[in-house]
């Protein structure tokens, strides 16, 4: 196909590293994130997060300005560390960089050391620097680097704990809960890196304002060095697992995201292999329920064309899941450039006999073009897909980040057997709402649209 666009990004399907870093940090207990950069970085990131999670989100800024750019940001960062330490006194401060401070060559580690030296007599929070240049890769890498920085700075070898570390990647709080629940059902003690399930889906109470009282604790992160293994269900965030394996001999397993039957089976098998646990009856029943839901819905889903976009692990997981359901992925798109992603999709395509257009490192403009060509009956992705769905007269099934035009983004479930069951029901009902009449008969909609298009192109006249 002829490509009319080589340089510009139009309607991005990725964000920058500090966004991923902040998402990781929001799952840590009693921690204050600071972005060392212009005020806009923290403010716009907070804006996106707030409208998605519908929760207050606190991210501090070092508020860099023209003068500090010329003379360096040491004064601002020192001042920020002092203010946060004194006024909020969290257990940990996590400082991420930005494109601004990376470009002017700020030595964050040096400044932090200087701050510690100057305050050696005080009881300071743990301070972790995280290098997240916005011009390198995407938010996915920002998440990866953050988990790695946390583990590198905090993990300490002591006595074996019999636990499994899980690196989540960017998930909805509900899906973090689904993974936790599945591990609990398997009686597998675990450490979630990181656990946003309570922090980002908090009850209405003023007690939830301020530093997080839930989430992964510092002690848990320290204890990751003593676990039986690490499963990075986000393959793209497995650097911390590699580190733990190399330094502390904690076995590392990368992927898959437990999305659908086969991937969840694989996840459960991985857990069992690392721990020697036997799968309890209740989990087998949950698996059966997901299969039951898929069988119940199969005739509505069979050969429905689906286009999927979002983070790489999610898109490859969803490609497999929808294929299991009998759907036909036609276009799969992720904003991050990733060989892991293209390899995963290649494998799924050969196993499932599908041939989707694979876009990695592309934007929604590119995806829309491909959808026009390959066709889609439904689009799965975040709110930014709404205008494409509208133009193509297909439903958008909202999942991913950000979702700002519907309620309940925190509570969207897709993972594990139970989350999968919920997903299958909701996805199928979306198709039923759109393509079937009130008596349950299929509308002629899809064919009508195709005919309209052909007429418009003049093939029938």
């Amino acid at each position: 196909m002829e490509h009319d666009k080589k340089f510009s990004v139009v309607n991005p399907s990725k964000m920058c590293q500090p966004m991923g870093a902040v998402q990781a940090l929001l799952g840590v207990n009693d921690t204050m994130p600071i972005i060392h950069g212009s005020q806009g970085c923290s403010t716009y990131i907070r804006f996106q997060l707030t409208r998605h999670f519908r929760e207050p989100i606190d991210v501090a800024s070092t508020s860099m300005s023209e003068k500090t750019v010329i003379y360096g940001g040491e004064f601002n960062l020192m001042k920020a560390l002092k203010n946060v330490s004194e006024k909020q006194s969290p257990k940990m401060i996590a400082v991420t960089s930005s494109c601004l401070t990376e470009t002017i060559g700020e030595d964050m580690e040096g400044i932090i050391e200087k701050f510690k030296d100057a305050n050696f007599d005080k009881n300071l929070p743990i301070i972790v620097p995280i290098s997240t240049p916005s011009y390198v890769e995407s938010h996915v890498e920002g998440y990866n680097r953050t988990i790695k920085a946390l583990v590198e700075n905090l993990a300490e070898s002591s006595t074996p704990n019999g636990k499994i570390n899980i690196i989540n990647g960017i998930l909805s709080p509900a899906d973090v809960k689904n993974v936790k629940q599945l591990l609990n059902d398997l009686n597998c003690p675990n450490i979630m890196l990181t656990d946003t399930s309570e922090n980002l889906d908090a009850p209405l109470s003023e007690e939830t304002l301020g530093l997080y009282k839930d989430g992964t604790t510092i002690e848990e992160i320290q204890d990751t060095a003593n676990s039986l293994g690490t499963i990075s269900i986000s393959k793209h965030a497995d650097s911390a697992a590699t580190f733990l394996e190399q330094k502390y001999g904690v076995k590392s397993v990368s992927g898959p995201l437990p999305l659908g039957i086969e991937n969840t089976d694989q996840f459960v098998n991985n857990v069992c292999e690392l721990t020697g646990i036997e799968v309890p009856e209740s989990v087998k029943k949950d698996r059966g329920r997901l299969l039951d839901a898929m069988v119940d819905a199969h005739s509505y889903n069979y050969h429905r064309k689906v286009a999927i976009f979002g983070d790489p692990d999610f898109v490859s997981g969803m490609t497999r899941f929808t294929s299991e359901m009998g759907m036909t992925p036609t276009v799969v798109c992720t904003g991050a450039k990733s060989n892991k992603f293209t390899e995963d999709i290649g494998l799924i395509a050969s196993q499932k006999g599908i041939d989707p257009v694979v876009l990695a490192g592309n934007d929604l403009y590119d995806m829309h073009r491909e959808i026009k060509d390959a066709g889609a009956d439904i689009l799965i992705g975040n709110s930014y897909g709404a205008s494409i769905a509208e133009e193509e007269k297909i439903p958008l099934f909202r999942v991913g980040f950000p979702i700002f035009d519907r309620m309940g983004a925190q509570r969207i479930s897709t993972l594990g057997y139970n989350g999968g069951t919920e997903f299958v029901d909701r996805l199928t009902n979306t198709l039923l709402d759109f393509y079937y009449d009130e008596a349950g008969y299929e509308l002629e909609k899809s064919e009508e649209i195709i005919e309209e298009e052909l007429f418009a192109e003049g093939e029938f006249v």
Partner: protein
Amino acid sequence: MEPVIETFESRKSHMCVKGDGISIPVCDKASLPGTVTQRTCVYGGARIVLMPITDSIHLVHGPIGCAACTWDIRGSKSSREDLYKKGCSTDLHETDIVFGGEKKLYETIMELNKLYHPGAIFVYATCVAGIIGDDIKAVCKKAEEVTGCRVIPVQSEGYQNHNKTKGHWIGGDALLDYVIGTKEPEKTTPFDINIVGEFNVAGDLWGIKPLIEAMGINIISTLTGDSHVEEIAQAHRAKLNIVQCQKSSNYVAKKMEERYGIPFIKVNFFGLEQTVNSLRDIADFFGDTEMIERTEEIIADGLKEVEHKTDEYKKRLEGKTVALYVGGNKAWSLVRAFEELGMDVMMSGTKNGIKEDYERIKETVKDGTIIVDDANSTELARLLKKYKPNLLISGAKEKYISLKLGIPFCDFNHDRISAFAGFKGFVSFAKEVDASVSSPVFNLSSELGGGLNGT
């Protein structure tokens, strides 16, 4: 004197109560590093004033984040194109940082021009574009020569200032330097005006425009709600500028007065009384007897149309208190509208106010009103907890702080869903405020486990 709330020593003077001494808080100072400031960057300020130009491409020259978090967030409506909603970026990578991004910028402009044939391409400089020293002016000039499309540089490097107002000015400068005065109108009338500082959020402009046109006035352009760049190019021929958002746009109006001798008046279409006054001010400016008479008819019709339509809401809202914490303009322009609903403005504050803004607030609010500058999220939560207003008016980032405290909230910023300007807008305004303040969900116990008896 007791401080308004407990906070950093240096921040205490940023809050005051009208009536006590000077009644103007310390303002326009850099935010304290390490606080959760509600402010944004200069780039954000520039983008927000230019983005409503609907036939244009808004290209962000920087790493992806700057564009990824700001495209399609203005809530500004269009009656024509939706080109302005596209999120365009040069997506600078590490190699561009090392070797410079000018070539990539040039190619991106050429490509976007070919894809969309826009009215103009606005090119926004971000922090990184500034530091690596990309000469976006030169690139834009060259691209404009080659394409014939207007390619307009916006020097909005994010770090330039702690106050995004600087960004509003930079956005205004882009229009003043590259757009206004570059095209002559086909015809002029004695009653040509521009509507300045109206961004058509939720369609506000459409509540104002018909009233003004019915007066017999010709609107040359709007800066910038629902506008085309070729319309703004003719703005220099107006006989009058009316300024709705005085926070962002007094600057442009003043500059146009200097350059083209166009006088300006401040208007405010929020609330019935203010709408009536604004229409009369415009008619008085022209001094045309026929127009003055016609305006009185428009006012009479407008008031009649909404008569009693807010009675039901007022009944429930009477005596309720409201706190405003906004970007700037709404800190004074909404005060009367709330008073018309029988509500009591007990706090007013802005994130980016400068001294003249606080003078305006001080003039508008009654004695005893708390006035705050640049409250960070902790301070805002403390203010709300201590003074317990019945309603907070603010933006998306503040919304859930308020709601978690059980305090009703209305979004008056980019996420607003109904138009509030003009006569009919006031009815929507009352309805929206009522929907927040009077909802029974806020009466349910919000203590954790509140209604439960078991142990």
